[in-house]
């Protein structure tokens, strides 16, 4: 079948806003990064903002830091979420409804999850108090530096707390359609629990896991809400860098903020395409059951 006018008409309520708002917005970001269409007339050259960024070591530090935080939190969320979803799926009926508590972080906004991490992990917080009462530490200065170590652990924890239920949701959708008799047969034939999980269940869940990883990774890479509460001074997350350039400095630095956004956008696209290609390639090499 080919394109008909009916198709165009039917797709227009979505395509029109998509072109104007999304594509238009991205286009304007690109333009402003070259100094075109900026609020104030831009005096510099078209590539000035990019040249400045390339020569700024703190930009690269922020970029790789954001990548690291995103990768670790997304990976951990997907792995832990998949395993936890598998366990929850195996719960008997009566307990299954109670297990719905896993959806709680899904409902909470990201800033509140960041707040929860703050309450738990700050040196004057609850875990420090517990460590004290168990005799591990005497003063709050002795509590390990979780939130401010420069490794972004606070943000990783927050993204993971939000990400595990999300991964669980995606994986549960597949598990629901899974035939539990396959698991039972394998068990009867003598396969251990771990073996069953890794050879029978996991390959089936792979699509959900890949989708989850892409979504969580890209979200953690570019989001603003959690870093706004938990970000450390250095290196900072890229989104905070952009925020500061956009709001806290004079308009002459607008192209720099836009240039960072362009780089983030291109990276996101490249990542989606590359990851999908790699996953497809691996899938084709695997014998389908």
């Amino acid at each position: 079948m080919s394109w008909t006018s009916k198709h165009f008409l039917g797709l227009s309520p979505l395509i029109l806003p998509y072109l104007v708002l999304f594509c238009g917005g991205v286009f304007l970001t690109f333009c402003q990064s070259f100094g075109v269409l900026t609020p104030l007339p831009y005096g510099g050259g078209a590539l000035d903002a990019y040249v400045k960024l390339m020569g700024d070591p703190s930009f690269f530090a922020s970029f790789f830091f954001s990548l690291g935080v995103a990768a670790v939190s997304a990976l951990f969320s997907v792995l832990a979420g998949t395993f936890l979803a598998y366990r929850v799926w195996q719960l008997p009926r009566q307990l299954a409804t109670a297990a719905l508590v896993y959806k709680i972080p899904l409902i909470l906004p990201h800033i509140s999850v960041a707040f929860v991490i703050l309450v738990f992990w700050s040196p004057s917080g609850i875990l420090a108090s517990m460590a004290h009462s168990l005799g591990f530490i005497q003063t709050l200065q002795q509590f390990p530096n979780v939130l401010y170590s420069g490794w972004g652990i606070g943000m990783i924890l927050a993204y993971t707390l939000k990400g595990i239920p999300f991964a669980m949701l995606l994986v549960m959708a597949l598990l629901v359609r899974f035939d539990i008799r396959q698991v039972q047969t394998a068990a009867m034939l003598g396969a251990s629990g771990l073996r069953i999980f890794f050879t029978i269940v996991l390959p089936r869940l792979a699509p959900a896991m890949h989708t989850g990883f892409i979504i969580l990774f890209l979200y953690s890479f570019g989001a603003f809400d959690i870093p706004y509460i938990l970000s450390e001074s250095r290196p900072g997350m890229l989104s905070i860098h952009v925020y500061n350039l956009y709001f806290k400095h004079d308009l002459a630095r607008r192209p720099e903020a836009m240039a960072i956004l362009v780089i983030m956008f291109c990276f996101a696209l490249v990542f989606i395409i590359a990851y999908s290609k790699i996953v497809n390639h691996l899938d084709n090499g695997v014998r389908k059951l």
């Binding site: 700050s122 004057s124 401010y148 420069g150 450390e232 001074s233 250095r234 709001f247």
Partner: protein, 407 residues
């Protein structure tokens, strides 16, 4: 037929062509209107006031006392919108560039480099300050002539005065340091218990200016204006001092509190032993609120404590300029300044010229009990030093990032 055409063209010319000029004309008209008339016009309107929203007690004072009085006296609906000064300047810049003639901000709480940037970019309405009754009656023109060394020229109205103080807990620190060197020694002998908010936070930026004055030989050398050579010569002393204390700061200086609210929380929870604030009554407010321990006190350093005046201003595209002027006038009135001075409400120092008050009004101000944590003017005034011209401020903030944070 031709007569009709000519008529229509003439009508179009009259209505459309003078458009941009009309806006300016209406501003000039407003500036010529007697203030009494402006007060009448402002009745039954809505005023939107954009201001820094990080201090809950200030928000409360505005939402209850100021909003209540504006409603009672003028039937004005006051809407407070929390927004950082840098952010609303940015917003106005965007709006000016987009040609937005009617915005949604009526009054701004502003000073320093934000005022300078706003005025230079043509974002402000004015000069209107001298029209206000309370300004004419109670404000010393000299005190509102300059803001961080930059001429005000009537484009903003004084609102309050602030002076930089440090905060500590009497129960854990028995003798606070007396000068900047003493502070450095204290930090070295008490590692991990001191830090400052990351510039360009308002308070953090003020802290590094304090240190700058102290380690480069005082403030007078900078007051004549921006001198890039002088800055290039003196700034390294500051970076050196800050970098040397960095390993002894909270979290070994690997991270700085995002803003003054975070520092307040660290101090109140005992993670650091000292706080700081540009408001002398901040500690007392926090004691009253219950977040600071009752033994919290403030101190100043002998090298000098920066003071400044903060102001209110009106954007070029304010939808309700008359209402904004009436609000600005009310804020500098004796009743409002007295209410604001009360540490139960805010404790911000008055921007009025106390010499111009009659004896009854004077007595009321003197009777205000600032509370044990706030230093009196007998201690604050001798060490008060003026703010630095704002070009230095921006150079210091940028320099801090390059020489202290990124090192």
């Amino acid at each position: 037929m031709t007569k009709k055409c000519i008529f229509l063209i003439a009508l179009w010319a009259i209505l459309v062509l003078p458009g941009p000029a009309l806006a300016k004309d209406s501003d000039d008209l407003l500036l010529d209107t007697p203030f009494r008339q402006i007060q009448e016009q402002a009745h039954d309107t809505q005023v939107r006031w954009y201001m820094f929203g990080g201090w809950a007690h200030v928000n409360d004072w505005v939402d209850t006392y100021v909003a209540g009085e504006m409603k009672k006296q003028y039937n004005i609906d006051l809407i407070r919108v929390p927004m950082d000064a840098g952010v609303f300047i940015n917003k106005l810049l965007n709006e000016k560039a987009a040609g937005k003639k009617i915005g949604n901000i009526d009054l701004l709480w502003i000073n320093g480099e934000n005022f300078k940037n706003a005025k230079e970019a043509g974002l402000l309405f004015g000069p209107f300050a001298q029209k206000l009754f309370n300004v004419k009656k109670y404000v010393d023109p000299k005190s509102m002539a300059h803001d961080f060394g930059y001429p005000v020229e009537g484009y903003e109205v004084p609102y309050g005065r602030a002076q930089f103080v440090f905060e500590y807990d009497k129960a854990s620190v028995s003798t606070p340091p007396k000068n900047m060197d003493g502070l450095k020694e204290w930090i070295h002998s008490n590692p991990g218990l001191f830090t400052y908010p990351q510039p360009p936070d308002f308070t953090g930026s003020a802290f590094i200016r304090q240190v700058f004055y102290a380690v480069t030989g005082g403030h007078e050398q900078y007051l004549s204006g921006w001198d890039p050579d002088l800055f290039a010569q003196k700034a390294p002393l500051l970076w050196d001092w800050l970098n040397k204390i960095e390993p002894f700061l909270w979290q070994k200086g690997q991270t700085y509190p995002k803003d003054s609210a975070v520092l307040d929380t660290l101090f109140s929870r005992g993670e650091v032993a000292m706080g700081m604030s540009y408001h002398p009554s901040h500690a007392q407010n926090k004691i009253i609120e219950g977040s600071y321990p009752k033994s919290a006190r403030t101190f100043v350093l002998a090298d000098g404590s920066i003071y400044n005046t903060h102001f209110t201003a009106i954007p070029f595209n304010a939808p309700n300029k008359t209402g904004a002027m009436v609000l600005a006038d009310f804020l500098i009135s004796v009743e409002a300044q007295l209410s604001k001075y009360n540490p139960d409400k805010w404790g911000d120092f008055p921007a009025l010229d106390l010499a111009r008050l009659n004896s009854e009004e004077s007595k009321k101000f003197q009777a205000v009990d600032l509370g044990p944590a706030t230093l009196g003017s007998d201690i604050l005034t001798p060490v008060a030093v003026p703010e630095i011209p704002s070009e230095y401020l921006e150079a210091l903030e940028q320099g801090w990032k390059e020489n202290v944070l990124d090192k």
